[in-house]
């Protein structure tokens, strides 16, 4: 594990992250409506839902990359809206964010990508940074030869693992995963699932995983929250259609949940022909 810098201890009595009646609109389109979720320390929460239901928007709200139209996001009890720009930047060192496409910097080598947060936020010597980079590469199962490669020279699975290594560089207490297995083969999907479990085992790491992959969800989740696209909901219906354990999700009789779990098209093609749906 990366030895530095030490993570700030998290108060176990408080939810690490919580949203309170979170609503996000882009122009006239409402993407999230009245979302209230609390994530306990050390918990792995999986946010499930079909494409376009606002999962990624919710994840970006949790780290303050998207500001809600109303409602609030709290980190350790304090609203992100009450942080100044500088204080929010400092707070973000407590997060690791694994992006859907890895979002590695094209112009930097893999080693420089992983070292970026260490150079930005610590005063470690280059030799120490290099040692941490090697350790992180080993942890995510990448060979040392990739250090000098550019992101475009790696496969999708390797890029995702390098993105995870970068997210873990500051040893953050919270790690957010945006569609970590999208576009990967089944073996690499399982590898990423194993890595999420491994990160969780680092001691008290709180994880939020956004996915639509049921295999990963069942593998890593302590609790699952399922969102439904607002375009398919009545005006006053709650957007969170399920919150519970993976076993409870599998037992659910809600036709919307069953359709998602079983991956059935249902009447979607008919809806598309009629011009409805989200």
């Amino acid at each position: 594990m990366a030895p530095s810098p030490p993570a700030t201890p998290v108060d176990p009595a408080l939810p690490v992250l919580a949203t309170e009646r979170l609503t996000v609109r882009f122009g006239l389109v409402t993407v999230l409506r009245d979302i209230s979720v609390a994530i306990a320390p050390g918990e792995t929460l999986v946010i499930l839902g079909e494409s376009g239901c606002g999962k990624t928007v919710l994840l970006k709200c949790l780290i303050g990359l998207i500001r809600p139209s109303s409602g609030e996001v709290r980190f350790e009890g304090r609203s992100l809206a009450r942080h100044s720009e500088r204080s929010l930047a400092s707070l973000r060192t407590k997060y690791g964010f694994v992006f859907q496409g890895a979002a590695l910097f094209d112009s930097l080598s893999i080693a420089d990508n992983i070292a970026f947060p260490l150079r930005e936020h610590t005063r470690l010597a280059e030799a120490e940074i290099a040692a941490i980079v090697d350790q992180l590469l080993a942890e995510v199962g990448l060979p040392p030869q990739v250090r000098s490669r550019k992101p475009m020279e790696l496969s999708g699975g390797m890029r995702k693992r390098a993105g995870l290594a970068r997210a873990l560089a500051l040893d953050p207490p919270v790690v957010l995963y945006d569609e970590p297995t999208t576009g990967l083969d089944p073996i690499m999907t399982d590898v990423i699932g194993e890595l999420i479990l491994k990160v969780r085992a680092r001691g008290g790491v709180t994880s939020v995983v956004v996915t639509h992959d049921m295999h990963t969800a069942r593998k890593v989740a302590d609790r699952i929250v399922m969102l439904h696209p607002l375009g398919r909901l009545a005006a006053d219906a709650p957007q969170i259609v399920f919150s519970g354990t993976p076993a409870e999700l599998d037992r659910s009789r809600d036709p919307r949940i069953r359709q998602f779990i079983e991956g059935r098209a249902g009447n979607r093609l008919v809806e598309a022909a009629a011009g409805g749906g989200a």
């Binding site: 990359l65 930047a89 060192t93 964010f97 979002a103 112009s107």
Partner: protein, 290 residues
């Protein structure tokens, strides 16, 4: 007199007033968008200037930006400068010969170059070569979430991505302008002397008489504004790029078009102001070329 709303005439009138109302609403929305865009660029500018003083840039970030903006732009600026000097000679010669003043060709070519064409040409080439590339690069970073990644790691994207490019354009555009001036002067002289047969002595004596340091410095002074405008407009377009290849392409195109328009507007107003400054220090009035 009340009109029956169901008649074809009333429907036509209603349709027309609705059409007018829609157009007024469209115009209002357009104006609001433009005002918001100007405000957005202003905030972007202040944030950029703020980060210049707030934190020193790292050498390993600055050097590649300077190389890309300055060194790689030199050949194209030199080449276009050379040709524009020759074109000026080609286009001015007939008029000057008709007046029997072809020996004064050097003064008009060199004055036009150092005051106007050198700075504007260098800025245009910079906007085309570097401005649109910056917008495309930052636009791609936006689309592939690399800018979000910077923010998520507690790093400021304006500090990392905009300030080095801004400083590169600001610091290096005067050198590109000097290069455009030099090559233009050289091209104008070579064509005038070798092709048009104008005497070396008359060409340079007249040039020296009518072009002074103020004219040269005026061009250099303007170039700082052009460089800043190119960097800010292009980076702003890149930061606010739309989705996908189409959005990035549009950002690159708009970066060039808006930079170019802004260069011309700045050139007009700076030219007017600098002429007043010139008149203040030389109350005898403008020098007469003819």
């Amino acid at each position: 007199m009340a009109t029956d709303p169901t008649t074809p005439v009333a429907r036509l009138r209603g349709g027309f007033s609705d059409w007018i109302a829609d157009r007024v609403a469209d115009l209002g929305a357009f104006m609001l968008d433009r005002v918001a865009a100007v405000g957005d660029v202003a905030i972007f500018t202040f944030r950029t200037l703020g980060w210049i003083v707030a934190r020193r840039q790292r050498r390993d970030v600055l050097v590649p930006a300077f190389y890309q903006i300055g060194v790689l732009s030199l050949p194209v600026v030199a080449l276009t400068g050379l040709f524009i000097g020759m074109v000026l000679a080609v286009q001015s010669y007939a008029q000057f010969r008709a007046l029997g003043l072809q020996t004064r060709l050097g003064s008009v070519i060199n004055l036009s170059l150092v005051r106007e064409l050198g700075p504007v040409l260098a800025a245009t080439m910079l906007a085309g070569r570097v401005g649109s590339a910056m917008a495309a690069e930052l636009g791609t970073m936006r689309v592939t979430e690399q800018i979000d990644a910077l923010e998520s790691m507690g790093a400021n994207p304006v500090y990392y991505l905009v300030v080095p490019r801004f400083l590169g354009c600001l610091v290096l555009i005067p050198t590109l302008t000097v290069m455009a001036d030099f090559m233009g002067v050289l091209g104008g002289y070579l064509y005038s002397h070798l092709v048009l047969g104008i005497d070396y002595h008359h060409y340079w004596t007249n040039s020296r008489e009518y072009v002074d340091a103020f004219d040269f410095l005026m061009g250099i002074f303007k170039s700082f504004f052009f460089g800043a405008a190119i960097a800010l407009v292009s980076c702003h377009h890149g930061f606010h790029s739309g989705h996908g290849a189409e959005g990035v392409g549009r950002a690159a195109t708009n970066a060039f078009v808006h930079s170019f328009v802004l260069i011309l507007i700045l050139d007009l107003f700076l030219g007017m102001w600098l002429n007043n400054v010139h008149d203040f220090f030389r109350p005898e009035g403008p020098r007469r070329l003819l």
